[in-house]
């Protein structure tokens, strides 16, 4: 993800002089982040069970996005409905309940497949981006 974002901002031949150009990139970045949220949540849950705030904090750190934190809950609900994660309430030391999410065996298969697709797609895009850059800056 970061590699991809870095390569875009490094491209020197895009004259970002108009505000509409910046708006297009900002809109594209939002869509890109939304598109990978599901994949990233599964990646994080593959490491260990987690809860909404913790997941969102890690997503925000990784993507430097200012997406509303509440958007994680419809996503987690969808993953649960699809059988990719399960949830259970756990009592904290304070006595307050907390909902933890855990990846299922099916979720592990799906995230593996997503990872393969991601690598293949990012490789193809990188090759295309480098080819274009080589033509412009021989």
């Amino acid at each position: 993800m970061r590699d991809c974002a870095t390569s875009v901002s490094d491209v020197p031949f895009i004259p970002m002089t108009s505000s509409s150009g910046a708006a297009v990139v900002a809109r594209w970045a939002i869509q890109l982040h939304k598109g990978v949220f599901e994949f990233m949540v599964l990646l994080l849950l593959r490491e260990r069970p987690s809860y909404g705030y913790e997941l969102m904090t890690q997503l925000r750190d990784a993507l430097a996005t200012d997406t509303a934190e509440g958007t994680i809950y419809p996503l987690l609900r969808r993953l649960r409905d699809d059988g990719l994660v399960t949830s259970k309430w756990t009592e904290q030391s304070s006595g307050m309940p907390r909902k933890y999410y855990e990846i299922t065996p099916l979720g592990r298969v799906v995230v593996q497949q997503m990872g393969d697709m991601w690598l293949e797609t990012s490789n193809r895009i990188s090759r295309l981006a480098n080819r274009k850059r080589a033509k412009v800056n021989p």
Binding site: A68, G70, Y73
Partner: protein, 206 residues
């Protein structure tokens, strides 16, 4: 730092309660159990956010809740899903229209799908209007064949010179069409997202 966040500042407490009253209002379409769970989870989120700052004054509460977002926006997919599932099992048009309306503006594909479904229901409404209006405007509702060979099925203002082919049969035909369309659309809507995702998962399993 303590594990429990206590809002001693009355303003912070007011901001907190106001936000969660808003959440409760937007989540009113969920079952009582789902609503209670959702609120508990969002409260835990906001408490965790405050705990990270170590402060719980009104300004920090506002920031934490602003970062959580506007419940009207982020709860929209949950509510739409719930309303459409309910409409699919009860065939009730009210949650159906509300659910479809909530879907508009999410993604392009979802919006297009919701608009198509709403178009289908508009067609259904026209069929019902035909059945109900035939008794009042018999010369303007039905299946008309004009002298130039053109045809019209539905409601027409200028039907002078046209021959009405169905007569009163247009009432049961319109009602049957409306009923079939309603059952078909409503069932399809309730199953759509589940089937699409099941197909994707089946593809990924291979």
């Amino acid at each position: 730092m303590t594990d429990v966040i206590v809002l001693r500042d009355p303003e912070a407490d007011r901001v907190w309660r106001e936000y969660f009253e808003n959440v409760t209002s937007h989540a009113r379409h969920l079952s009582a159990h789902d609503r209670a769970e959702l609120i508990l989870e969002l409260e835990d989120h906001a408490r965790s956010s405050l705990r990270a700052t170590g402060k719980s004054d009104a300004d920090h509460v506002r920031v934490a809740l602003r970062e959580l977002g506007d419940p009207a926006e982020y709860l929209r997919p949950i509510i739409a899903h719930e309303l459409l599932a309910r409409a699919g099992s009860s065939l009730n048009p009210v949650p159906l229209v509300k659910g479809l309306t909530l879907l508009i503006g999410q993604t392009f594909r979802t919006s297009l799908w919701a608009l198509t479904a709403l178009f289908g229901y508009t067609l259904l409404a026209i069929l019902v209007a035909m059945a109900l209006g035939k008794g009042v405007f018999p010369g303007h509702i039905g299946f008309f064949v004009f002298p130039d060979g053109s045809t019209l099925f539905g409601i027409g203002r200028d039907t002078g010179g046209a021959k009405e082919m169905l007569g009163w049969w247009s009432v049961p035909i319109a009602l049957a069409g409306a009923l079939l369309l309603y059952v078909f659309l409503t069932r399809i809507i309730a199953r759509r997202s589940r089937k699409a995702r099941a197909a994707l998962l089946a593809l990924l399993r291979h």
